[in-house]
Amino acid sequence: MSATELVRTARMKRDSGIGKQVRKVLAVVALPIVLIVTWWFSSAGSQNFFFPPLEQIVTAFQPTWFTGAIETEVLPSVWRLLGGYLVAGVIGIGLGALLGSSPVLRAFTEPALEFLRAIPPTVMIPILILFLGIGAEMRVVVIAIGALWPILLNTIEGVRAIDEVLRDTARVYRLTPMMRFSTLILRGASPQIVTGARQGLSVAIILMVISEMFAAQDGIGFTIIRFQKSYAMPEMWSGILLLGVLGIVLSLIFKLFESISLKWYFGLRQSQRGGN
C-alpha cells in the first residue's frame, strides 16, 4: 500500500491533558452542584409544609427506601418498566422493519397507525383494566403501548433510509433472508432505532409512574402517591428524587449500549466531516 493511500490513523491523541479531563468533568457536574446547593440553602429553615428543607428530604431518603422498599416497591416498578419496554422494542423493531421494507404495507397501514398513535396511552388504562385487571399485565401493556410508537416510527424511517446501493449489494451477493434482516436492515437502521429507543425509554418511565397511580398495590409511583395522601412531604419528595436518580442510571446504561452498538456510525460521521 502506498503512502499516499494511508489515511487518518489516529486522531485520538488530542484530548489527553489532565486539565482537559478535569474541565470535562466540571462541565458535566457544575450545574447540578449549583442547583443542589441553591436548593439546600434556599430551603434551609423552610416553614412551608409542602416544601420541606432539602436536609429533611435527604434524611428521610435512607429510612424510606433502604429498609425494604427497594424490594417491595422499586424492583416491581423496574421489572414492569423493562418488561413493557422490551415488548415495545421487539414489536416496534420487528413491525418497523416489515413496514419500512414495503411501500405497499406502509400505505395500507399508515392511516390506522396515525389514528392509534394519536391516542394517549393513559386513556387506555381504564379500558385495559377491564380486560387485564389491575395486576402487573395491565401496567406492562400500558408501558409497551406508549414506548411502541417512537420505536416503531423511527424504525420505519431508518429502514426506508437504508442506502439503495447497499440494498443492491445485498441482492447481488445473494444474502440469505436472515442475513438481510440482521446485517442489512437491523444494522442499517440502527441509528434511527436507537433514537426511537431513547425516546421510548423516557415515555416508558413516565408511564411506569402513571400506571401505578391507578389501583396499584406497589411501585414507586404508588408509594409517592401514598406519601402525598398521608402528608408525608419529605418522604414524598425523596420518592421524586429517587425517580430522578433512576432516570439518570437508565440513561447512563442506554448511553453505554449506544456507544458500543453505534461505534461505526459515529466513526463514519466523523470521517465524513473530516473529509477524505
Binding site: 500500500m1 439503495e164 443492491d168 441482492r171 447481488v172 461505526w264 463514519l268
Partner: protein
C-alpha cells in the same frame, strides 16, 4: 479456467448472451425508452469494456444484466440461464464504493459476507478473505472499517470482495469514476492483473475512452438514449499493458481517435445502420 486472450478461438463458450434487451421506464404514465435493443455476447475469460456518452443508459444496462432491474423485453442469459434476479456467481463492483461497503462491518467481514451467505465454512472463508485482500494489497487493514480508508482503498475492498466470491462474471459500473487520476491508474492495472491471474470474465462499463481501450480486449460503443450498440471494436494491443508504454503506442493513439470519433457521433445522435 484458462484465458483465451485476444486470440480468437473458433467457438468460444458464450458466458453472457444478450439478445434484443429492452428497457422502458414509466415515469408518471410517461414511457421513457432507456434501452432500445442490445445484442452482444461475452465469452468466458473476456475483458470487455462498454463505453458511451453520459446519459447513455450505461447504469440501466448494467443493472438489467445484474438482475436488479427487470427488462421490458429481450433476454440476457448467463451460462444459458435467463437472468431474472441476481444470479449465482455474478459479482458487481459499483461506482459508489463508499455506499456499497457495509460501514458497520470490518474490511474482512465485508469481504467474507458473500461467502457466508453461500454457506462457506468459517475456516475457508477466512482463508479466501485473506487471499483476496492480499491480492489487492490490503492485507494489513483487514480489521479496520471502510470509513477509515481512502476512496481508492475502499474500491480495492469492493474488488477484493468480488474476487473472493470467485464469480463466473464480474460486472463493473464506472468503478473508478470517483477516485483521483493516480489511484485510478493503479486500480486499472490491478483489474488487468487480477483478470490475468485469476482468469476472470469482466464486463467493465465506463465513460472514459482511454480507460476502455487500456483495459479491454473489446470495446462496445453505445449510442445515445434510447441505447443501442453502435460499434464493437477489437483492441489489438499487446497483452502486457503498462500505463506509460501502452498509452504511448501509435496503435493506442489510433484506437483512441477511433473510439473518440464514434462516441462523438453517438453524442450527435448517430444510430446503428447510419454511416459511421
Amino acid at each position: 479456467m484458462t484465458i483465451s486472450d485476444s486470440v480468437s478461438v473458433q467457438s468460444p463458450d458464450v458466458l453472457l448472451q444478450v439478445r434484443g434487451l429492452r428497457k422502458t421506464y414509466e415515469v408518471r404514465n410517461d414511457p421513457i425508452e432507456a434501452i432500445r435493443r442490445l445484442t452482444f455476447d461475452i465469452h468466458a475469460g473476456d475483458l470487455v469494456c462498454i463505453v458511451g456518452p453520459s446519459g447513455a443508459g450505461k447504469t440501466t444496462l448494467l443493472r438489467s444484466l445484474a438482475g436488479l432491474l427487470t427488462p421490458s423485453g429481450g433476454s440476457a442469459k448467463l451460462d444459458g440461464e435467463e437472468i431474472v434476479e441476481p444470479p449465482k456467481g455474478m459479482a458487481v463492483v459499483f461506482q459508489e464504493y463508499a455506499r456499497s461497503l457495509f460501514p458497520w462491518l470490518t474490511i474482512a467481514q465485508n469481504v467474507a459476507l458473500p461467502l457466508k451467505a453461500q454457506g462457506v465454512d468459517r475456516a475457508t472463508r477466512a482463508e479466501k478473505t485473506a487471499k483476496a485482500l492480499e491480492a489487492v494489497g490490503l492485507a494489513d487493514v483487514a480489521k479496520r472499517y471502510p470509513w477509515q480508508l481512502s476512496g481508492g482503498m475502499q474500491q480495492r475492498v469492493a474488488l477484493a470482495r468480488a474476487v473472493a466470491y470467485e464469480p463466473r462474471i464480474l460486472l463493473m459500473d464506472e468503478p473508478f469514476a470517483a477516485v483521483d487520476a493516480q489511484t485510478r491508474a493503479d486500480l486499472e492495472d490491478l483489474v488487468r492483473n487480477l483478470w490475468h491471474r485469476l482468469g476472470l470474465t469482466v464486463l467493465f462499463v465506463t465513460h472514459d475512452i482511454d480507460e476502455s481501450i487500456y483495459l479491454g480486449q473489446r470495446v462496445l460503443v453505445l449510442s445515445n438514449r434510447p441505447t443501442e450498440i453502435l460499434d464493437d471494436i477489437a483492441i489489438n494491443l499487446p497483452d502486457e499493458r503498462d500505463q506509460l508504454t501502452t498509452r504511448n503506442e501509435p496503435e493506442f493513439a489510433r484506437l483512441r481517435a477511433e473510439v473518440y470519433e464514434r462516441v462523438q457521433q453517438a453524442k450527435a445522435g448517430r444510430r446503428p445502420g447510419d454511416a459511421a
